[in-house]
């Protein structure tokens, strides 16, 4: 008969073996860079410019819908037609923002196209990019692990990377994209497929500016890589971030039947249903 004292070591050995097995499967082998050698990205940051994902998608009076002028994104014919249909619905206020009904993450790469403050939290084993709006969290593993071979798709995907000097370089894969119609890049109706993947380079280009350069590839939707650069400006020292309880008092849901963004009156009924 085994005593408790004899059973415990066996349990511990088995547990450690199981944990090591999981760690090995996720490729946790490299030694993270020492904390005091990492760049200082502390503080609160605000995206420069509006929430059109790529300024080259926006042209003149006709906005992004102007044919033959807009140069980005490099959609193939099938996805160009999808985007054009979104633009046409947008112009009629019938293309709903997927986050207007609260509850789903903004997703990647829209994570770098949001209003309200950002925080870039640098740790040896991970970097977290936190957005007040949403809120959303982008976790970038820098502990040497690899993407899982069988990673299932999510809104924000799986990001692993490494440091090249003071530049964080990472890849993001396993994204839902527009597969379930609940991830967009901006309100012009920019979308990517569930085959998109991105290589992102983040660095501080001066004391008050963080630059995020994304090279987006999508064999299903794009004919060539699409490079989009966003910048984030440092907010005043001491800036606080707060809850973003989207469902607290959402008086602007999207109508599920028409896609129209509603404006609810004090009685909770739409003022613009017609």
């Amino acid at each position: 008969m085994l005593t408790t004292a004899r059973t415990l070591p066996i349990f511990v050995v088995v547990s450690i073996t199981l944990v090591r097995g999981v760690a090995a499967a996720q490729g946790e082998s490299a030694t993270p860079r020492a904390y005091d050698t990492l760049p200082d990205w502390s503080g609160a940051w605000s995206m420069v410019g509006g929430t059109v994902f790529d300024r080259d998608t926006q042209t003149g009076e006709g906005g992004a819908i102007t044919p033959g002028v807009r140069s980005h994104p490099p959609y193939n014919a099938e996805w160009e037609a999808i985007y054009k249909s979104h633009l046409e619905r947008r112009d009629k206020n019938l293309f709903p923002d997927t986050i207007s009904n609260c509850g789903v993450p903004a997703g990647f790469p829209r994570h770098f196209n949001l209003p309200d403050p950002y925080e870039f939290v640098v740790r040896p084993e991970q970097v977290w990019v936190l957005t007040e709006n949403g809120p959303n969290v982008l976790r970038i593993y820098t502990d040497g692990r690899k993407h899982l071979e069988d990673q299932w798709a999510t809104y924000t995907g799986d990001s692993v990377g490494h440091w090249e000097g003071d530049t964080l370089v990472f890849t993001t894969v396993a994204l839902k994209g527009f597969r379930d119609k609940d991830v967009i890049l901006d309100r012009t109706g920019l979308v990517l497929s569930d085959q998109s993947h991105t290589t992102t380079r983040i660095r501080k280009i001066d004391a008050a500016t963080i630059q995020v350069q994304m090279t987006i590839e999508d064999p299903k939707a794009l004919t060539k890589p699409w490079v989009v650069t966003k910048q984030f400006r440092k907010m005043p020292a001491g800036t606080r971030l707060y809850d973003y309880g989207c469902a607290e008092n959402n008086r602007n849901p999207a109508d599920v039947e028409t896609g129209k963004t509603l404006i609810l009156g004090p009685d909770g009924k739409p003022l613009n249903k017609e």
Binding site: I99, Y242, A254, I263, N272
Partner: protein
């Protein structure tokens, strides 16, 4: 100029008007026009994702009409010094707003002026 619920209608450049709301499209509001209403604050909903100022305005045939005036997120406004107490219930106020396109009693906040002359937002 006087209409049923509006004391003054003002033509402002759209460029002067505060930006579209961050959480949703601003397509329901008239970006070309700013109007002014006079009323009594019923409630300041200092809530996410957007704040709303509820204002009771005398109706043309007696009674009151409740206007809903949408503003930014409490987080963003709070960082600019706005507080739940900025619009106290019961206070008389003039409010300028971008009205809804269909004439419903709601709009996007531009600015406000209280009886003591204090102003909030954009009030040139």
């Amino acid at each position: 100029m006087r209409t049923d619920a509006l004391l003054v209608a003002l033509a402002f450049s759209a460029a002067l008007v505060t930006g579209a709301a961050a959480h949703h499209s601003g397509a329901g509001f008239d970006s070309e026009k700013v109007i002014e209403i006079a009323g009594t604050i019923k409630e300041f909903q200092f809530t996410n994702p957007h704040t709303w100022i509820q204002i009771l305005v005398d109706g043309p045939k007696g009674g009151t009409v409740e206007w809903s005036v949408e503003w930014g997120s409490p987080n963003s406004l709070g960082r600019q010094g706005i507080r739940p107490s900025t619009f106290p219930a019961g206070a008389k106020v003039l409010v300028r707003l971008r009205p809804m396109l269909n004439g419903a009693p709601a709009g996007a906040f531009v600015g406000a002026k209280f009886a003591d002359g204090k102003t909030v937002g954009r009030w040139e």
